[in-house]
Amino acid sequence: MSTTTLTHVQSRAALPAGLTVAATEIGGAALLGAFLLAEATPMVLALLALMGGLFAALQLRPLIEEEILRAFHEARGLATVLAVTIVLIYPFFLGGNTYALHLLIVSLLYSVLALALNFQLGSANIPNFATGATYGIGAYTSALLAIHLGWSFWATLPAAAIVATVFGFLLGIPSMRTRDSYLALVTIAFGIVIHQMLNNLSWTGGPNGLVGIPAPSLLGHSFMQPIELFGFRLPSQANFYYLSAALLGLAILSAKRLHESRVGLAWNAIRADELAAKCQGINVVWYKILAFGVDAFLAAFAGTIYAFYISYISPDNFTFLVSVTIMTMVIVGGMDNTLGVILGAFLLTMLPEKLRVFSDYRLLFVSVVVILFLILRPKGLFPQRQRHYGGQ
């Protein structure tokens, strides 16, 4: 973007940055809340139409997006504090609606998974259809450790991540030689092998899965207990809500740090042109394998929280179609754009749930929406942004 247009935008800026930030964040949270609590079909459809309208506005008037981004850049401190506050007080506004909280938790976990995949698909353009499998490895590792060895949740968390990362590195090894469709098939095959093993081995419980994963506890507070605070009472799901929100925060932070680091730059270089990246002295093989490892690491965290939250896991939670769903979230949201990916995960998690009226046809409906989306807005809700180099 040239400097003339930048100054043009700045001169047009009518609202102070702080106000824009506050309006965007509170507006977004309110919209999400309305969508979570909406039960009548007309209401759901009206909210979807409103979101569609907002995106149409962004599509037609790109300056609005620039303006909002600039405001967030200017008032970074305020934006972070406000966002954290909103996340912290959010459950209080849901009025003890456990279903809404459940949806929120699942959306948060899928956001983490989508961000994990984004390191490969978005940053480095490596196809990976096995995120569901590494998610499953994480979930099964922690569940087995907790059930058979009595490990606490907090101890299984790093253990699951390490096991899954080892698998991630193993999966990354074929990527040294194969690429594109061939690599895609390697990851698909890996996902199916893992799913079939979980389904057939006796010590993973076979198709029945693992039951009775004990609830975690923190400082004597069991996560089965409701939270009581200042006379308010939050349902027990709120525990897991805060846990998954913290994990998503961690994922966002690592995504940002990695993007700004040499690693992120190397991934982007591989995406742009693998051969050129190699010529620049980037160790392509290592960075590709690293992308698999990072993906598995984060996915295992999400898997562990999921296992302890639902307290029951079975192979069907980690099929090939789960991996495809995660991939769709990244593409619909916008590759290599953290906000877009999270939005994609939220939309694709909540849409099928909110369309229960169409009961039998909702999967059909969602698939049609995905296809239309890929045709009409191929770069995703929020396309990847130009990299900023150096200071401003």
Binding site: S181, F190, M327, L364, I371, L374
Partner: protein
């Protein structure tokens, strides 16, 4: 003992034939468009349902005089319908991703596969239940003292015939030459007076119709069909095409025979082989791709600067 080996051998050839028919479609389309038509398995699985539906209508019309004619007619209708659905899938969805990154087309066709499955489940009468599918032929065939069940023999023989026909069509006929020309260089083919759109439509019809035969044989051999059988069949067909080398018909056949072979061996030699056959089949896929990254007969791609 001998009959057991014979049985396994026959089973291997039948599975190999079915996978070949599905894999050829993947290979054909990839060779032409460089696109992976991931819904190919699901589109092919339309055929058994179309056959069942038209069989019911035909029996309704002709009374229940069970002859070979209504069965053949139903099979022909099924193959035709599936071929047309293939063209429709291209027109409606896949053609819009000609110039997009490969991953977009892949995800779009995965979603398209779900659409096809869900349409069968939701709109075919009692579509979510498994349906029993009749054997196309019954009884036994005699070959110089060797008594073999007729259906497997029919499947293997017709697959060989189809493969030979496909080879002749691709290598010796004018339309095959046009397909190869478009695959080689679309722009130049255009200059030579070839309409790529028509070639694409024909190729999609061909791939889907051959896949349809594979799905019909699969349903007939298994004796049952369900709306989601296409996922696994598609995955295996795709794997066969890839380990053989995408774009190569001979490779697709080799890949199909390799996967069918490992499945048969595992099933025959392991106590609970039936449940582990997919593990071994896909482990083989990973291993093959590690050893030969562009498939058995695929040409290795060298990048030029």
């Amino acid at each position: 003992m001998e009959s057991l080996i014979l049985q396994h051998l026959l089973n291997w050839l039948v599975l190999g034939s079915i996978y070949t028919l599905v894999a050829i479609g993947f290979s054909l389309l990839f060779g032409l468009l460089n696109v992976i038509h991931f819904s190919h398995g699901d589109v092919s699985m339309i055929a058994p349902f179309a056959a069942l539906g038209s069989l019911q209508v035909l029996f309704g019309l002709a009374g229940s005089s069970v002859g070979i004619l209504p069965i053949l007619a139903a099979l022909a209708i099924a193959v035709l319908v599936t071929g047309l659905v293939g063209i429709g899938a291209d027109r409606l969805v896949i053609s819009r991703f000609r110039n997009s990154p490969a991953m977009m087309a892949l995800v779009a066709t995965v979603a398209l596969g779900t659409v096809v499955r869900e349409l069968i489940r939701g709109f075919y009468p009692q579509g979510s239940n498994p349906k029993s599918f009749p054997a196309i032929v019954q009884g036994f065939a005699e070959f110089g003292g060797l008594r073999l069940p007729a259906l497997p023999v029919l499947i293997v023989v017709s697959t060989v015939a189809i493969v030979v026909l496909m080879y002749l069509l691709m290598q010796k006929s004018p339309i095959g030459m046009r397909i190869r020309a478009v695959a080689e260089d679309g722009a130049t083919a255009r200059l030579m007076g070839i309409t790529p759109a028509r070639i694409f439509a024909f190729t999609f019809f061909l791939a889907s119709a051959v896949g349809a035969l594979g799905a019909l044989f699969f349903a007939s051999y298994a004796g049952v069909v369900r709306f989601d059988f296409g996922v696994q069949l598609g995955l295996i067909g795709f794997s066969a095409a890839v380990i053989g080398g995408l774009g190569s018909m001979g490779g697709a056949i080799l890949g199909a025979l390799a996967i069918a072979g490992i499945e048969t061996i595992v099933q025959a030699n392991m106590a609970d082989g039936a449940s582990y056959r997919l593990v071994f089949a896909f482990a083989l896929v990973i291993l093959m791709l590690c050893i030969r990254p562009s498939g058995l007969l695929g040409k290795p791609v060298f990048e030029k600067v």
